[in-house]
């Protein structure tokens, strides 16, 4: 038994490592200073996909990402870790998409891929934290969803059993394939890059990358088809432009405020014993402590 697995992955700015250079003095985000990374929970999803491939050799993993040209980096990262194929969905018409327009575009790309049993992604991306795209892709494809998954326990026939991590416990559910699964950060971490695969796919590129980087070697790209990363536009996936990008997004950003953290109602104390003693007395008198 083999399965066709599609991993939905996103390239995100590393908001977890917002260092000193990442915020400008006026409180705006300095995007250039944030490294672009493989969304962490999408890596947890990748590991679940690789695990299915281990258990059912011959299964195929396709990494699908939507983003600008540089997001091809995500596809290579997926290939280095054991994916079989990568597809970049990229078009100016996709720009400014909210979660609904994003899931429409992804669902059209998935329809174009055609064969799929399991679509798996991280629970949410660290730049938006919405957790919406997985369920919305499932709805657009008319298939069930299992969110907050921690482990795929087993697949038997056309039924999959998944452990979910809830706020105060766990739940084990059984569901027919095909299905969309979103994976929690509490799931197993992804295995590292494989050195052999790194050598194999180091020069895997999209057509656009080859053009902009002036990479020639046509013969090599012709004789090694696995080095050609697929790139799809709106037309390629036969998507309705009106439902993509900004025009396909019911939610609009009215304004953005930069967060400038400031202390209100705070007092500064010295580390002198007298100061601390007085604070303790005050807290005890107000019945805050004790």
């Amino acid at each position: 038994m083999t399965f066709n697995i599609i991993v939905l992955a996103k390239q995100v700015p590393d908001t977890r490592n917002v260092g000193k250079d990442a915020m400008k003095a006026d409180g705006t985000v300095n995007r250039a200073a944030l490294p672009a990374i493989f969304n962490p929970e999408d890596l947890n999803a990748m590991e679940q996909a690789l695990d299915i491939k281990d258990r059912f050799p011959g299964s195929k993993i396709t990494v699908l990402t939507m983003g600008p040209g540089r997001a091809a980096e995500i596809l290579r990262e997926g290939l280095f870790r054991g994916a079989d194929d990568g597809i970049l969905l990229t078009d100016r018409a996709f720009a400014g998409a909210d979660t609904l327009a994003t899931s429409y575009a992804l669902s059209m790309a998935i329809r174009k891929i055609g064969k799929f049993d399991i679509i798996i992604s991280g629970r949410q991306a660290i730049d938006g934290d919405t957790a919406q795209v997985g369920p919305q892709v499932a709805e657009k494809l008319g298939i069930p969803q299992i969110t907050y998954a921690e482990n795929i326990e087993k697949i038997k026939g056309r039924k999959i059993t998944v452990k979910r991590r809830l706020e105060n416990g766990v739940e084990v559910v059984e569901c027919p394939l095909p299905v969309v699964i979103t994976v929690n950060g509490t799931a197993r971490a992804c295995r590292p890059r494989n050195a052999k695969l790194l050598l194999k796919y180091k020069h895997a590129k999209t057509v656009t990358e080859r053009q902009t980087e002036n990479i020639d070697y046509i013969d090599i790209y012709n004789s090694r088809p696995y080095l050609n990363l697929t790139e799809w536009s709106v037309e390629d996936v036969e998507a309705d432009k009106v439902q993509c990008g900004l025009s396909g997004s019911p939610t609009k950003v009215k304004k953005i405020e930069n967060v400038v953290f400031q202390a209100k109602e705070s007092r500064q104390l010295t580390d002198d014993d007298v100061d601390i003693e007085e604070l303790m007395k005050e807290l005890i008198d107000s019945h805050t402590i004790g």
Binding site: A131, V172, C175
Partner: protein
Amino acid sequence: MNNLFVYLEIEEGVVADVSLELLTKGRSLASQLDCKLEVIAAGSAADLEKIGEQVFPYGVDLLHLFKDDRLSPYTTLPHTSILAELFQKEQPQICLMGATIIGRDLGPRVSSLLGSGLTADCTSLEIGDHEDKKAGKIYKNLLYQIRPAFGGNIVAWIINPDCRPQMATVREGVMKKEIFDPYYKGETIEHDVADFVKEEDFVVNIIDRHIEKSKVNIKNSPIIVSGGYGVGSKENFQLLYQLANVLGAEVGASRAAVDAGFVEHERQVGQTGITVRPKLYIACGIS
């Protein structure tokens, strides 16, 4: 028509705190908009027995009941069908749900089905107007859905000018629950579940479920000792636990400390964690 709806989360017959908090917010928004506050309760007959008495004091005008033993515990598809069908009939202007595992599973599915916009994890909800200068249009009484983004480094104001309902999820503890009127009496409608849910909606089976009461009660703790990345290690956090023990406090943590693996996620405080209102907050190693 065009009322404000809140989806109720129910565990063992008890309405979740997050839903009650949304009723308080929903009541004040509904009064401001001069519309009714309606709520949806879907679950087993046993779970729904005492919902009315729990929610009416929060100012609920209409309670929609959907009784079917297969609706408890929650699974995605039947609850989605209920909301989608009901919303197509009732055309609500706003729908609020908890930014819980259930709300974040159900909300996006419903929003995709209805083609309406959804904003996750709002920290503030307000009513206001919006002018679209390009289209030369003025929208009255929109819901401003205010939420942190980009790891909490910015705050975005989101609106849904054209699609209805305007949907938003809110985390537990962000809104404050308050009884509106202990004698408030709303109406109850019991719907026929078969008119809303298809047999094939029950394809997902829950084969095992363990729910434990959370041991960490950081939300209601009057004193919190919080640690950040500066604490340095999981071992150093023991110092915070010792202090908390002496003070009768709970230990909290910043996102950086949780991401670094010093502390479990259920202790995370702040915009991306739990909203807390302690009397005393001691921050250690948080910049």
